[in-house]
Symmetry: C2
Subunit: 339 residues, 2 copies
């Protein structure tokens, strides 16, 4: 095991792939491997990418990956599909991507599909990211399929979170979601050459302003910091590195339009995190979530050991038949665990 970790640390793709398979498939393996390589993590810039199906997310991830390679980043792409118990969708996405990106040693691509257990998938994703981080990838792109809470959770664990929208998906009152906007560090309107793009950009900007106004009301104060430090990125992007205003970027992933600018903005966000306490704050948030998830898993293991399969089935049947209620049943289980 120590040998495998050493090889992964030296960038050997086969060792990395084997470690990932281990942490993905077995919680016991993850509980052994993650502590062994944890001290080497915390270096990679983790970029979460989420957005509705049809937004062209995968093409955009492709183009971002190529742009990062042009800037000599060693990158890993993790495509996570919380909604699929099969690996079909994610693997198909892989193959589409692979046509463009395979053969490049600076890119590592991996798909993760749900095994019907969402907690398990979040945990597996967290462990896989740690393996890649310890393997010295500079940038890890975590792409999630769909736009639900699961995706929000997974993508939201990144340092920099991109939310992708596309024009013409906005004819439903619910299609632009406040909850997803909340986690965005950068909003992207992809397919920006399509009709309605300008309208989508305008609605997103309006939603952002509304969100900001609500947040100020809620906290009774502005969240802006006091000092202003305008810096200019290598490509001429001007921004205040002390405070972050979520920008709305336009891209056309299929021909690469706007991708370099988007990458500038992503790097500006990374810089913002590094000069403020944002980077550590993200690490703490991720640590907190991971500890809570692991606690819950260990507790469920304990429960399954303490209460026999038969007792569990009897209790469930009693609740289903209205002989008892779920709250009373849970109180009984707690008594059994303690005894």
């Amino acid at each position: 095991m120590q040998d495998l970790i050493e090889q992964a640390r030296n960038g050997r793709p086969r060792a990395i792939a084997r470690l990932i398979t281990k942490v993905e498939n077995s919680r016991t393996a993850a509980a052994e491997i993650v502590p062994a390589l944890y001290a080497f993590t915390g270096q990679a810039h983790i970029i979460g990418i989420t957005g509705a199906p049809g937004s062209g997310k995968s093409s955009l991830v492709n183009e971002l990956a190529k742009a990062l390679r042009r800037r000599d980043h060693k990158i890993a792409i993790v495509a996570v599909d919380p909604s699929s118990p099969f690996t079909g969708g994610a693997l198909l996405g892989d193959r589409v991507r692979m046509r463009d990106l395979s053969g490049d040693k600076g890119i590592f691509i991996r798909s993760l599909a749900s095994r019907g257990n969402l907690g398990g998938l979040s945990q597996a994703t967290a462990a896989v990211i740690k393996v890649l981080d310890a393997a010295k990838f500079d940038t890890i792109l975590v792409e999630t399929v769909g736009a639900g809470q699961a995706e929000v959770d997974i993508a939201g664990a990144a340092h920099t979170t991109l939310v992708i929208e596309a024009p013409g998906m906005g004819d439903d009152v619910q299609s632009i979601k406040a909850g997803i906007l909340e986690i965005a560090d950068v909003l992207v309107v992809n397919k920006a050459d399509r009709p309605g793009a300008a309208r989508t950009v305008r609605s997103l900007k309006a939603m952002l302003q509304l969100g900001q106004a609500l947040a100020m009301n809620h906290h009774g104060r502005s969240t802006q910091t006091t000092s202003v430090a305008t810096v200019v990125s290598p490509n001429g992007l001007e921004y205040d590195e002390n405070s972050w205003q979520v920008p709305v970027q336009e891209t056309v992933a299929i021909d690469g339009t706007g991708v370099e600018d988007l990458l500038d903005v992503i790097m500006a966000h990374k810089n913002h995190l590094q000069v403020t306490d944002g980077w550590l704050a993200q690490e703490k948030l991720r640590s907190r979530r991971e500890i809570e998830a692991l606690l819950q898993m260990r507790f469920m293991d304990q429960f399954q050991t303490a209460v026999s399969q038969d007792d569990r089935e009897q209790l469930i049947t009693a609740v289903a038949n209205r002989k008892t209620d779920p709250y009373t049943a849970v109180a009984e289980i707690f008594d059994q665990i303690k005894a």
Copy 2:
């Protein structure tokens, strides 16, 4: 409290609304109210409705509600938005619906939005459904916004689950998701007057067949039962009540096309559940999930009592700074809880 429950049992809207507000806002209140009314639950037919934004889900729920009223069902609509920490979106949906449906005492409408805690929302939804069930609503429509795992979980807890698609959303490899198809009892292609509807119906049928073939392979046998009992619904729908083949129904919600047929299919599924052991199986599944969710919540409460806020923050900071790793941290917490 007992008085409020009695009033809700007699269909008094204000009492129902007050109970819902209590169980939604306070877990302590839910732990008191749910056991008190649990024996009265288990009568309502719970219909889960999920599907991608833009599929016209809310309009379809409207039309289904009207069709159910024409058949004299007393109905409740619960609109759940797991992705929104604001109530904005869900409330907006309410108002749109209210124009058509308000003023009818046989309909009760309620929106639930996420408070940033998904487990909390699932629990709140489960408790709200129980209040409505005990208040003698015949049919409870649970509509979830979005198409992620959270929605799948909430809608999947219903007796009959509808998954809504629309034509023209299928130009992305990931837009039709195996995970969502898996929970569907009825698939609906809404906006069936739009170009591409026939293609969407065909792809869904193909996906269903593929899913069935995979399931047979996986279990090494067909899931079909041996006896065949063809029945005919009041509106002339013929089906085998012993085995359920997921149908693909076409609707145009905005003018009501196909809605009566869809309702026939939904009632046929209810009948199928009642003549087979499907109804009890659903109750058991829901009981199992609820017990597990309540167990996890109680455990997290215990953890927060046993480990002080300061100790938790120190541990999180140590993990974020790589002084320790999440697995070791969790082992320490478990020792503290046991001590």
